[in-house]
Amino acid sequence: MKALHALPVIKTLASVKGSIAAAYLLLLIVGAVFAPWLSPYPYDQQDLTIMNQPPSMTHLMGTDEFGRDVLSRLITGARTSLSVSVTAISVSVLSGLILGAVCGYFGGTFDRVVMIAVDLTWSFPEILIALMLVAIIGPGLQGVVLAIAIAYLAQFTRLTRTQVMVLKGETFVEATVNLGAGHTHILFAHLLPNVLAPVLVAAMLATGDAIILEATLGFFGLGAQPPTPSWGAMMSSGTAQLFIAPWVILLPGLAVALTVIFLNLFGDAIIAALDIRTKLREA
């Protein structure tokens, strides 16, 4: 019976998509966590005698315009990209869960006001909100985290609210009310646990988008400030020598693309695994 509950995890990892994506993501996370030990050179060590060198045995991914090792900067940049997007999405998910649950469960004027505010943020492209917020707060990682968190808040609030509204009408919730349960018990013991799975899958997919948004802001010079590497900032500095040293822009670009693709594939695999489970439940 335990095995049945663990089934989605197994199914996710057993699928081709899921296993490849999981392997890549694991590699990325390990790289980001152990960056200072894994990178062959310090990420900010300049050596102007070896500027813009193509990949070689000493510098596996070449060097940039200051002679810094691109591989080291890529690994350290993974730290920035992952921590910023994961922190931002976590903040967004947490606020979205709370706001959505309260709105969906209690409804009323509070719900209407919050929904208008949330829909307002939804009517702008994410990048526009992010640019606006960073312009107000000033460039830096805190600004980027906040901007991404607000840009995706609408999605999680709406998702939670809709799910809570549907679940609220379920017979098992009425049964719990009839047992004499209060709002807190119903929200925390029944509604939120049932909302969590779809929200977490949505969060996984949004993390991919957040990485792109972080890279975009970094590219505009609004994210991590030099010398802290981030994939977006690396690409930005690489544009200048696009034709002399294309690896400086292409490699971080590839890192962004691969990470987003694999995050989406992993999300897809989880969704597929969860669908199988709902089928099992109906059978």
């Binding site: 019976m1 049945l4 017979t171 047992l179 209060g182 029944h190 049932n194 439940r281």
Partner: protein, 335 residues
């Protein structure tokens, strides 16, 4: 004998207030009064949409009445504070029509059965022993303790629903069509289980159903509803006086083909609860209708001391006396 439950002129209207729609009022339950004595089984019968389930939820105060009052064991439910109402809920429980959605899909049997104690803040000496005794009480294998709802059959889930309702040792159990979504053989088992539990635990049942045959077999007293109103209150062995009850009785399924009769089927539909007719709601479908029925609402009038009907032209002694006996033999044949 004191009445456990007393319902007094209970009404509930729902207002449909869309942004661009005309405000509409739906009369779900209108002017319902009855009493239920301790240890009795009261059956509530009627077609879908006649307000049976709304009545159940009004009695349990899961929804608020528009008018009227419910007295439970001498307590006016409306007078209770939120906290007192939550505490009183353990004495009145509900078993649901759809066992498939009545248990949280993430809850194991054990969690579902322990939830009542958790909610009411009851400390248990041994949670395992409590779960085991509850499962045994409803005739389930204790091995199911760690199962998820999706691993159980409909009948098993309904037994879990009953066990959960009885966990806090209630006085009144409202059964909202507890057998409607189950197979016929499982239905009979659940009815037998409910009967046994009532005897051993001294429960009082309010049994909601659309099957008049089943209600006549199972209940002491029958309350027939039509479009939110009571049309007849009668002892279960009495012959129906209201033409609607008679039509319901005629429509009960007869397993023996030689015993089948040509049924005078009702034509037409129930009038809308948004716009109830001024007279008797059944007038449009009634074979005994007169002009009076269309203009004047018939009040619930006593025919004998235990029998009341809301009809201008009640039937007298025209039912088939063999019916009850037949249902009795049909149902008692099942263990």
């Amino acid at each position: 004998m004191s009445d456990l439950l007393s319902v007094d002129h209970l009404s509930r209207r729902f207002t449909n207030a869309g942004l661009f729609q005309k405000r509409q009022v739906f009369h779900a339950v209108s002017d319902v009064s009855f009493t239920l004595a301790r240890g009795q089984i009261l059956g509530v019968v009627g077609e879908s949409g006649c307000g049976k389930s709304t009545l159940a939820r009004l009695i349990l105060r899961l929804i608020q009445p528009s008018e009227g009052s419910v007295w439970f064991d001498g307590i006016d439910m409306a007078s209770l504070s939120r906290a007192d109402l939550r505490r009183l809920r353990q004495r009145m429980q509900l078993v649901f029509q759809d066992p498939y959605s009545a248990i949280d899909p993430r809850y194991r049997v054990r969690d579902a059965l322990l939830e009542p104690f958790k909610v009411q803040g009851v400390k248990l000496k041994s949670a395992d022993a409590t779960v085991a005794s509850l499962l045994e009480m409803v005739g389930l294998n204790p091995a199911l303790t760690h199962s998820y709802p999706h691993q159980l059959s409909g009948g098993q889930k309904q037994r879990i629903g009953i066990a959960r309702a009885l966990a806090l040792n209630p006085s009144l159990v409202v059964l909202d069509e507890p057998t409607a979504s189950l197979d016929v053989s499982v239905q009979a088992q659940i009815i037998a289980l409910l009967n046994r539990l009532r005897e051993s635990l001294g429960l009082t049942y309010l049994f909601i159903s659309h099957d008049l045959g089943l209600v006549r077999y199972f209940c002491d007293k029958i309350l027939v509803m039509y479009l939110g109103r009571i049309v007849e209150i009668m002892p279960s062995d009495a012959l129906p006086a209201h033409p609607y009850t008679r039509a319901l009785l005629d429509s009960t399924f007869e397993p023996d083909p030689r015993q089948r009769r040509t049924i005078a089927r009702l034509s037409g539909e129930i009038p809308s609860g948004y716009n109830p007719p001024p007279g008797c709601a059944f007038a449009a479908r009634c074979p005994r209708v007169s002009g009076l029925c269309r203009t004047t609402l018939p009040p619930l009038q006593p025919l004998t001391d235990r029998h009341q009907a809301a009809c201008h032209h009640p039937l007298a002694g025209e039912a088939r006396p063999e019916t009850v006996q037949q249902i009795d033999t049909r149902l008692s044949a099942v263990p």
